[in-house]
Symmetry: C2
Subunit: 133 residues, 2 copies
DNA sequence: AGGATTCATGTTATACTGTAACCTTTCTTG
DNA sequence: CAAGAAAGGTTACAGTATAACATGAATCCT
């Protein structure tokens, strides 16, 4: 039951995984369109929203882009390292940070529901290549 | 010298401070436009970019919005708590978190340059009003 | 079976966010 | 004053996202 919805989601997720790097919604659209000539933005955004809901995809807020989740365990708080030279994104997890972050936010009685943690900088590879920060 | 540029920045910053809450660039535009009938987006975006550069304004990536910095000390890493009920935003600082975050990201040789930390949830006030998360 | 219902997707149109590119004005400096 | 630099004006458009309604397939219920 309720199987139809998963098709588009599967195609979108596959496109994101093939790419590996962050993709804009419109890049996903172009990829998925290959098979389906008439695909419009809402379809992609709907699939992305569902995948994010299911923890299969993350949105990189500071890049306006999307990536497939690389962790087996979904339902975690992802920490992204974003290289501004090459665009590579690493996904990490730290219970310490998320706990501490919840604690800080909670000091004023705030109830955290969703964390956005993104670190921009330069990856080891680009740094060693000599590109100055 | 070089004084002209600060006027627009001052108006934009004043608008953000008057408002207190996050504003979209186009909301700022509407505010600042009162005095200057023909003001176009690039002017606002330029002023915002300069203010962000100077640490006077932060961009809330997950809201596509801007707020005046509330801390006296600029050049810190801000941590934002964003209430999804009422839109209120609190700005906090934690050296522990930013250090730990840099450490985590640095494990793979990544050199952090800019941190984005935003926590969505429900503020104490909205929570007590009974709005269920 | 057959109609009602539900839900993903198709479709159209548009709103919102952001910037490229070029021009004009003002200020500074020699 | 001429030359140059920096800010802002202006036009136009690119990129991101969603509202609103139509369509069609699977499911449910009697």
């Amino acid at each position: 039951m309720r199987q139809r919805g998963r098709n588009m989601q599967a195609e979108v997720l596959a496109a994101l995984r093939r790419c590996g790097a962050p993709m804009s919604a419109y890049e996903v659209l172009d990829q998925v369109r290959d098979g389906n000539p008439r695909l419009a933005p809402p379809t992609i955004y709907r699939a992305l929203a569902a995948l994010i809901e299911r923890g299969k995809v993350h949105r990189l807020e500071s890049l306006k882009a999307f990536v497939a989740c690389r962790c087996e365990r979904h339902r975690h708080v992802p920490i992204f390292s974003i290289c501004e030279e090459c665009g590579t994104v690493e996904e990490a997890v730290s219970r310490d940070i998320t706990n501490e972050l919840s604690r800080i936010a909670g000091q004023s009685g705030f109830a955290p529901a969703r964390h956005v943690i993104e670190v921009h900088g330069q990856c080891a590879r680009c740094e060693s290549k000599g590109a100055p920060a």
